[in-house]
């Protein structure tokens, strides 16, 4: 059952276009969530939320008018549509009759997390707490969090589109603080997917041990070096490098405003031929996956770089229309309160043929960034920065001392062109991406990747 009846949606669209406009859309949503954490070995902050609401959008030429309301009462939706129409004040346009799309290929959810007793979730957190604390006497603090969310969305537009999606996501995070004499270090690890509670089958407690291991390892760390050197980036969350360095610059809104260093570079060689990369919202079970995007376009795989050549930007409907092309299924919004904008889903570098160990052993002096705390890019200039959460020195082809407090900075086009090895290993990780005030779940992935010449910013000047 859709969150809004088709007949109601048809009336809202008709009203929205009653005084002009080229396109109208109703995005309706019902979202529920639950989260829980453990801190100081105490289960706390249980929180449940439930929201219903809708956003109505009318596009008139190049101008987008948008209204959103809490609740899904027909009166409220009609009032929103009325407000938009009143602002246009022209002659009416007729929407095409709605026709439901083929049922979407929903992600398979084996166990609806909402059906699992909260006490089970508390027990998972107790297990994480226990595993983190048993990693050693130097573990000073451990905390962990569990969250689940379900979004049922329905999209209707004046071109006759009617599509739905039902997205369930589960995520665990563990944070550990380790202390030795006056030194304090932290470690963090996550596990998440567009899946049900079955994600936590197996051994979710391992992430607490991994977080603890990172914090303990860093206790013996030296200050990170500063200066330019070869950098090897680890698999999994290392993919955030590609997300920032390239992904954001390929989002069509930035490109069309000339606010991306990738503007005008379509078809050009931007990397060595060993590099191929995708954005893929249809990867089964991944964090950034969906059946459709938030404009009703089916999620799909888009090759953005093929053998070093730039092959596609990432589009939503509005920006695709401007470029005379099709949406790539990247029109995403945080909630019914937001306009869709071009966003990544799951972005990854395709595994190459280099042995990860050789990628490192060929480096005489360099820096090994195993994992990042996050990153940021300014697509217009291409300048980026990443905080390294786990990093090591590479000396004589071997990984030696752990380093604390490192940051990687550089410029997109330069750094992308300097990737000279892509590993055959591969891992996907979960992240949250912020853009224009909206947060979206995104997946990032890659194997080991080597970049010749990047600035490491540390305190050891």
């Amino acid at each position: 059952m859709s969150v809004v009846e088709e007949s109601v949606a048809a009336r809202v669209l008709e009203r929205a276009l009653s005084r002009g406009g080229d396109f109208a859309e109703l995005f309706a949503e019902e979202r529920r969530g639950f989260s829980l954490s453990i801190d100081e070995s105490r289960v706390e902050r249980p929180q449940s939320g439930s929201e219903r609401g809708a956003g109505v959008r009318v596009i008139d030429g190049e101008v987008t008018r948008f209204a959103h309301v809490d609740g899904l009462a027909e009166d409220d939706l009609m009032a929103a549509a009325d407000g938009l129409a009143a602002a246009l004040g022209g002659g009416g346009a007729e929407p095409v009759a709605l026709r439901a799309a083929d049922p979407p290929k929903l992600q398979e959810i084996e166990v609806d997390p909402a059906s699992v007793p909260a006490e089970r979730k508390a027990d998972v957190l107790r297990e994480l707490d226990e595993r983190a604390r048993s990693a050693g006497p130097e573990i000073a603090q451990a905390s962990a969090s569990y969250s689940e969310g379900r979004r049922r969305v329905a999209v209707f537009n004046s071109e006759g589109l009617e599509a739905t999606d039902d997205r369930t996501r589960v995520r665990l995070g563990a944070q550990v603080v380790a202390r030795r004499d006056g030194t304090v270090e932290t470690g963090f690890e996550t596990l998440g997917a567009h899946r049900g509670f079955e994600l936590l089958d197996g051994d979710p407690g391992r992430i607490a041990e991994q977080a603890a291991r990172k914090a303990l390892e860093l206790l013996g760390a030296d200050p990170a070096p500063a200066g330019e050197m070869t950098v090897v980036v680890g698999g999994g969350f290392g993919g955030v490098l590609f997300h920032e360095m390239t992904g954001h610059g390929l989002e069509a809104d930035a490109v069309q405003k000339g606010a991306s260093v990738y503007a005008g570079k379509m078809g050009e060689k931007v990397a060595e031929p060993l590099l191929t990369a995708y954005d893929d919202g249809s990867m089964p079970g991944e964090w950034g996956t969906g059946a459709i995007d938030d404009e009703g376009t089916p999620c799909r795989r888009t090759a953005v770089i093929e053998e070093g050549r730039l092959t596609s930007y990432l589009y939503d409907r509005l920006r695709a229309r401007r470029d005379g092309t099709e949406s790539t299924g990247n029109g995403r919004r945080e909630s019914f309160r937001d306009l869709p904008i071009p966003r990544m889903t799951n972005t990854y570098i395709e595994p190459g043929d280099a042995d990860p160990e050789e990628i490192i052993s060929e480096v005489d002096r360099g820096f090994y960034a195993v994992s990042f705390g996050g990153g940021q890019v300014e697509p217009a200039t291409g300048d980026f920065v990443f905080g390294v959460s786990e990093g090591y020195l590479i000396e004589g082809g071997r990984v030696t001392k752990p380093c604390r407090g490192a940051t990687l900075i550089g410029n997109c086009l330069q750094a992308l062109a300097r990737i000279d090895a892509v590993g055959s290993d591969f891992e996907m990780k979960t992240g949250f991406c912020g853009k224009a005030g909206q947060t979206a779940p995104v997946g990032t992935g890659q194997g080991h990747v080597r970049i010749r010449g990047m600035t490491v910013g540390g305190t050891a000047v």
Partner: protein, 453 residues
């Protein structure tokens, strides 16, 4: 609106008690907001929105749970109350967990939190304001090649609280802000610059100043090069000092302090900062956008000196951390919205201005770097250890004056070390909406590690 919200909060408390809560607190909000995005002289998008919702905190003995929703009907509140009470049953007991009693202190009257002009200003007027901001950036320098977009937002809203222990109240606020990112181009090089303004109504925003700031910054960065790695004096712009104050304020929140996750834990009363650095949390300054008569659990907001004479004077508390730490609440229980339970957070941070103008600070620095922008804060600052390493851009300082632009470098250090190394705070202060709501000024730090070429 506020009478309706107060009533919704009271009904929510009753519903929670009926659902088995031994104590309950409800926070309700309603707002209308408007957003305009302008690009190349045209409106790109126009958003009008209304929102409302309620959050219920329920206690069952010493267990606490939270639930929020957008359905304020009787059946909606009943479902929400069940969810809150149900959540509380999952939590472990905590001897410090209990509903706050009314503080007994007078709720401050703060004039000027709401400017009726927000609701009265036609959308056509704010569209014109946004267009003038863009124009001002483009007219500033012929190398300014475009503006990604000008964003203008205003909001007018009310909030109300009610609890089973008799805490109750409501207030209304308005805000208006605008920002833009300008691009300057020379040959194939592009640089960006940010401009912004904040206030209670669109009338408080000066289009020419906001646009000029972005245009100046973008064009002044053209030709930027990477500096040599070294340690040197730095002057931090007010945007950077705002973020810095935000991290200091965050680390002074008693929650993380009590849980041993702050570099300031067990340091109360210690001399740890330069005497030039004087910081307070001020929840009642009418110009501060975070100001309110009471905090997220109904405790009166107040002004709390944090650092003065080089000493750490106080931590920030809500009722939970106050009980746990044997202190009194400083009125710093904050909520991002009804969607989140209250937790300790800064309100408005105020860095006391010093004597020297920006020119004076540069002269005192002699040779060094002036940092106008930092990037990668959320991953580059570790709030537990206090260490930071973030991306930066700015200008060289030579012979006490601004010289060539610099980019693609990092600054690194630790919060406590930097606090002690502050040499002077500037005299020109302004409100900055980064790092929370901060009234701040530029400052000179004696030495900082620069990571460049």
């Amino acid at each position: 609106m506020s009478a309706e919200l107060e009533q919704a909060a009271r009904r929510a408390v009753e519903a929670a008690t009926a659902a088995g809560a031994t104590d309950a607190e409800a926070w309700s909000e309603g707002s209308r907001s408007r957003e305009v995005r302008v690009h190349a002289g045209e409106v790109e998008s126009l958003t009008e929105a209304s929102g409302r919702g309620v959050g219920i905190r329920a206690w069952i003995g010493q267990r606490t749970g939270y639930a929020y929703g957008t359905d304020l009907s009787d059946s909606g509140l009943a479902a929400l109350a069940e969810a809150a009470a149900g959540a509380a049953r999952v939590a472990d007991e905590d001897e410090n967990s209990s509903a706050p009693d009314p503080s007994g202190e007078a709720i401050p009257e703060i004039e000027g939190l709401r400017d009726e002009a927000v609701a009265a200003t036609e959308t056509a007027e704010v569209i014109d304001l946004a267009k003038r901001i863009e124009r001002a950036a483009l007219d500033r320098d012929k190398r300014v090649s475009g503006v990604e977009e000008v964003v203008y937002v205003d909001e007018d809203g009310d909030a109300a609280i009610a609890t089973s222990r008799g805490v109750s109240g409501s207030f209304g606020v308005s805000t208006a802000y605008s920002f833009l990112q300008a691009m300057a181009t020379q040959d194939s090089e592009v640089q960006t610059g940010l401009g912004f303004g904040v206030g209670r109504s669109p009338g408080a925003l000066n289009a020419e100043e906001i646009g000029a700031e972005a245009g100046d910054e973008a064009s002044s960065m053209l030709g930027a090069t990477k500096p040599e790695s070294r340690s040197c004096p730095v002057v931090l712009s007010e945007r950077v000092t705002a973020s810095f104050a935000g991290f200091i304020g965050g680390a002074l929140c008693a929650d993380d302090v009590q849980r041993g996750r702050s570099p300031f834990a067990d340091r109360l009363g210690d001399e740890l900062a330069s005497t030039a650095y004087v910081l307070a949390d001020d929840g009642i300054d009418p110009d501060g956008l975070a100001s309110a008569p009471f905090d997220g659990e109904g405790t009166p907001r107040e002004r709390t000196p944090l650092i003065a004479d080089g000493k750490l004077l106080a931590y920030l508390h809500d009722s939970y951390t106050a009980r746990r730490g044997g202190a009194r609440s400083t009125g710093n229980a904050s909520r991002a919205s009804y969607r989140s339970p209250p937790s300790v957070s800064t309100s408005n941070l105020v860095l006391a201005p010093g004597e020297l103008s920006l020119e004076g600070l540069l002269e005192r620095a002699g040779d060094g770097v002036c940092i106008t922008e930092v990037a990668g804060l959320h991953s580059g600052v570790n709030p537990v250890t206090g260490r930071y390493s973030v991306g930066a851009s700015g200008r060289a300082i030579r012979g006490g004056e601004l010289a060539e632009p610099l980019r693609e470098f990092t600054i690194a250090g630790d919060l406590l070390g930097t606090l002690a190394a502050v040499r002077a705070v500037g005299s020109e202060s302004r409100w900055v909406p980064f790092g929370g709501s901060v009234r701040t000024a530029p400052m000179l730090v004696g030495e900082m590690a620069i990571g460049g070429a």
